[in-house]
Symmetry: C2
Subunit: 317 residues, 2 copies
Amino acid sequence: MLIEIENCADSLREVQKILLLCHAHPDGDTLGSATALALALKAMGKEIAVLCDDEIAPKYDFMFTGVHRTVDFEPELIVAVDVADPELLGKNLNLKYGEKVDMCIDHHTSNRSFAQATWLDADSASVAEMVYELLRLLEAEITPQMASCLFTGVSTDTGCFRFSNTTSRSHRIAAELIDAGADSQMIIQNFFEIKSRSYAMLEKMAMDELQLYLGGRCAIMPVTRAMLGKSGASDSDTDRLANIPRRIEGVVVAVTLKEQPGGEFKASVRTHGDVDASAICERMGGGGHVGAAGCTLQMPLPACVARIIEEVEKEIG
Amino acid sequence: MLIEIENCADSLREVQKILLLCHAHPDGDTLGSATALALALKAMGKEIAVLCDDEIAPKYDFMFTGVHRTVDFEPELIVAVDVADPELLGKNLNLKYGEKVDMCIDHHTSNRSFAQATWLDADSASVAEMVYELLRLLEAEITPQMASCLFTGVSTDTGCFRFSNTTSRSHRIAAELIDAGADSQMIIQNFFEIKSRSYAMLEKMAMDELQLYLGGRCAIMPVTRAMLGKSGASDSDTDRLANIPRRIEGVVVAVTLKEQPGGEFKASVRTHGDVDASAICERMGGGGHVGAAGCTLQMPLPACVARIIEEVEKEIG
């Protein structure tokens, strides 16, 4: 059943013991929205816990001051926050609570309506914007900590106000959160700005190896184990690199080729416009979405590059 | 004489022929603020021209549709927009108008009060925010073109809402401008996301030359004429480079050192926390804001680097 913000507020007011669930591989929006809501409900005198199946990175620690992360009560209401599908709760939480979710607060068009009641706002860039309005409706005082939690959600889900999902509402709520004491600079520094020295070095080395093909329409950037070793960067640092080739003017197919510990290469393909990344990757045994896909190639680097150019050329002619 | 927004509005209402001056090495704020103001005044039936001493990059073309760029009238009022010092008008405009500026609209604490009347708001992240409020006071209709001009000013002077000068007012005005039809996605793509191939090459070369000093707290990145020549990048491309050194973990003072056609070096200094960039630059004959300032050094590159390290060390100890 789809519900409105007022129903959501009423349900929360009616009960005393509430369990909030985040999605696995947690991000700033699921964690920031759930913790801000938890802090507001706690201030209303309720018993609250926030659960997440995966480990939570230290940069999110500020959100959990005063928030219980274990359930020592029998929940009257189980609420999933920013969760489109029970499988996204992660294995453990899905097993335990996947079929018992009473309410879901979400902004994904792909939401599977798995909860008893779903408050869905697909026009909202982040769930944090929805929770901000919910807290206003609940007449909750928004503390600086809660404001920081929500600012993290708004900013991370909009790529710091750059993605095309960013609306005037995103900016207006960001303004309200700054006025409520959100530490926007700490958040921007930790989530968007600061690069570790090892990551900065890896980026430089990867950029040195980036080459353009097919008249500048295809960029291929190799990231080898040697580069990781020399820079001291970690495997997870390589995720951020995928943004480099796709930002070059004229590039419609951007490929990051990451050498794996076993020697094979994982290709991440990002496309602009209507070029089909998944069609390119499917012909090399992979798959994905139109704009972002991947595949794994068991061959030396020069052969990988040649093969990719061949398949990209078939797609963009 | 310092004036308020009301005086500024009154002065503009009283006259018919207005000349607006931008600073040399023009950026999104000086151009966006001047063109938005020009378009509003033109819609009020006034004769307007906008002048800038330097060539204006094609990405700003959208601002100038319907805006005169030559003066074929005798101005009754000469207004400098985002200009802290008549020297920043550039050689020609300074010679011709430097001592005749009637009004200056600016947000630099370093403003030299060179105009007859100065409306200064040092708390404003951009002059575009001031001009937005001025247009509201003038009851001007904000067209989508004007909204895009001002959104460019707000976004470029706040580093797309990342710099520490970004306030809740910046976000609120951004929201108003989006609602007024600003093409925020076009602006974000052109000014922040897409890199020309020549810019990407320049960035790579500059990163190769970046060095850390003072225990990693100071980063200095030289950008020479040779790099510009080899990459094919333009002078205006170098503005974006200033973000590279400031994002490295541990860096509190980030300096981009751009060699000028005459051989001198322009230093752009960006700081984190409460380190005062303008104090550093003032000791080298420049000025600016706490978080972002600049100066020009007439010496070879190694001497520039040594001098800057010396002055930075005085500030951060």
